[in-house]
């Protein structure tokens, strides 16, 4: 496994007695595109603001690049780039001047402005006032700004919010190239799992301030594999028969469910039951989209989806 680049320990933020972020342990490895997921108001932005030193945690601590954020804020921020929520800009200035204002604060080399403009393909519009930019261009300008300091870690909070499909596509392609092309680790928040599915290597899911899932996207996708449900008589007996035959069995009082089974295995299971004179009334496939799992996770706070054992 790669080196840990960012880690929080019991990170908590309380607003007037209400825990907006509650004991969150994030772990981000170098080279990850870490999808930070959760419904609106789950605590994503608050967490991100704490990671950037914009808000002070009420409890717990943050370690980035193996240093405590509290004691080394400036050194750490120097190696990070960020885009928080809606893009920030000075609308009376041109795109280039906007970047220059930030570059001065960052003390980055002047040539860097052209480089980042090129990365987000804004070179042609660089000398127009940002007032006239479309939302997608403003968002790309925001990403350009986040790249100014040559960051090793990029934190993007809902970077595709409010964009049209082609804008979303464009930003997504851009983000995907970051780790490979520039060696940048990316943390990206979103309330859409479908979006993360196509970019993220690892995901953390936050709901009501609590981190309820954190693992590779691959694992999460496994949970979305279809299961086969058998409606039979004598369900209890049916389950034990199948279990002793080596199947992974789940289900409730009316259904027996099988995980991860091929067509042939289904046939085998059915013939086993029939041989034991257990009636099989119905066989159905149940598939869960990732979206279902996500909703399930964030609604109940724990996993009800099939394939818990994966």
């Amino acid at each position: 496994m790669n080196e840990i680049i960012l880690q929080t320990n019991q990170l908590t933020k309380t607003f007037k007695k209400q825990k907006a972020v509650n004991a969150v342990d994030l772990k981000v490895y170098q080279g990850d595109i870490y999808g930070f997921l959760g419904p609106n108001g789950a605590g994503k932005t608050t967490t991100i603001r704490m990671l950037l030193g914009l808000m002070k945690p009420s409890g717990g601590d943050i370690k980035i690049f193996n240093q405590s954020l509290k004691n080394h804020q400036l050194e750490i921020l120097k190696r990070m780039g960020s885009l928080v929520e809606s893009p920030s800009y000075y609308e009376h200035l041109t795109g280039r001047e906007n970047l220059e204002a930030l570059r001065l604060l960052l003390q980055a080399p002047k040539a860097r402005i052209d480089e980042v403009l090129n990365i987000v393909r804004l070179t042609q519009d660089a000398d127009r006032a940002v007032k006239q930019y479309s939302l997608g261009m403003k968002q790309r300008l925001g990403i350009a700004a986040s790249l100014l300091g040559n960051p090793e870690l990029l934190i993007l909070d809902e970077p595709t919010n409010g964009l049209d499909p082609s804008g979303i596509q464009e930003i997504r392609e851009l983000i995907k190239t970051m780790p490979k092309k520039y060696g940048i680790t990316v943390i990206i928040s979103s309330h859409l799992l479908s979006e993360m599915e196509q970019m993220a290597t690892r995901v953390g899911i936050i709901s009501k301030g609590k981190l309820i899932y954190q693992d590779s996207i691959h694992r999460l996708k496994n949970k979305a594999l279809p299961q086969v449900a058998l409606r039979t008589g004598q369900v209890v007996k049916a389950k034990s028969i199948l279990q002793s035959a080596g199947f992974e069995v789940g289900g409730d009082s009316t259904f027996v469910t099988l995980e991860n089974v091929s067509d042939r295995e289904v046939a085998k299971a059915v013939s086993l039951l029939v041989e034991q004179h257990i009636p099989v009334y119905r066989i159905e496939e149940r598939s869960h989209s990732l979206e279902d799992i996500f909703l399930d996770l964030t609604k109940g706070g724990e996993l009800h989806a099939p394939g818990t054992a994966s």
Partner: protein
């Protein structure tokens, strides 16, 4: 700190800041043009000390214009960041919050200083235009132009502080306008009220007010910085 100042300089481009800087002293002088235009003969007959009277007349409006200018400019400087949520962007950069805050203070102080220079020049030109000749009491005019600004530093620091920490600018602007109105009537107010320090009461030594202005101004600036450092940026 230098970078923060350079960034501020870039950000105030195309924003009419310098027009406002000019408008303040221009307004003060323009009022005197009207004053003298309406009752030139009466003034000249009643007050033999030509320059002295001009300075005193001018002084009546300096404090008000100063407070208005400070409030509006401070609010505009802070609004640059408030408007499109830029605080979260610049404060997530490796810069000290203190530097950002103090840079705004310095920029505003510089703008007010330029206004004061214009007032100094304007007063002399007006006097010459009124036929008082070129042997003006330059020192007294300079005192009248620059002491109010120094004695007003506490108000300047307060306006910057309020404008920066409040997203809604109605509070700092109201305080600024109130101060401007109050200044015209505050001759009898107690001494601890910072809004009357720039009035330079005739017959009183102005230097204590100037000294207190600088000291208290810096104290308020420091309190503002500490407060800003502690805040969560939403």
């Amino acid at each position: 700190m230098l970078q923060a100042l350079q960034a501020e300089r870039l950000k105030i481009k195309r924003k009419w800041f310098w027009f406002l800087v000019f408008l303040g002293p221009f307004g003060v002088i323009a009022l005197q043009v009207v004053n003298y235009g309406v009752r030139y003969d009466w003034i000249m007959r009643t007050y033999p000390d030509e320059w002295g009277r001009l300075i005193q007349f001018t002084n009546m409006f300096v404090a008000s214009a100063l407070f208005l200018g400070m409030a509006i400019l401070a609010s505009q400087l802070a609004s640059l960041e408030h408007k499109q949520g830029s605080w979260k962007q610049i404060l997530a950069l490796p810069v000290k919050r203190k530097d950002v805050f103090v840079a705004k203070f310095i920029v505003l102080t510089f703008m007010i200083f330029v206004s004061s220079v214009l007032l100094f020049i304007g007063t002399i030109l007006l006097g010459v235009g009124l036929g008082f000749g070129w042997d003006a009491p330059f020192l007294a005019i300079a005192e009248n132009s620059f002491y109010p600004m120094l004695a007003g530093l506490p108000v300047l620091a307060l306006q910057i502080w309020l404008s920066i920490v409040q997203t809604n600018q109605s509070v700092p602007l109201s305080i600024g306008i109130f101060g401007a109105v109050f200044a015209t009537y505050s001759h009898n107010a107690p001494n601890w009220i910072i809004w009357q320090w720039p009035l330079l009461f005739p017959g009183k030594d102005p230097l204590p007010f100037v000294g207190m202005g600088i000291v208290v101004g810096l104290v308020i600036l420091m309190i503002g910085v500490v407060d800003f450092q502690r805040r969560d940026i939403a």
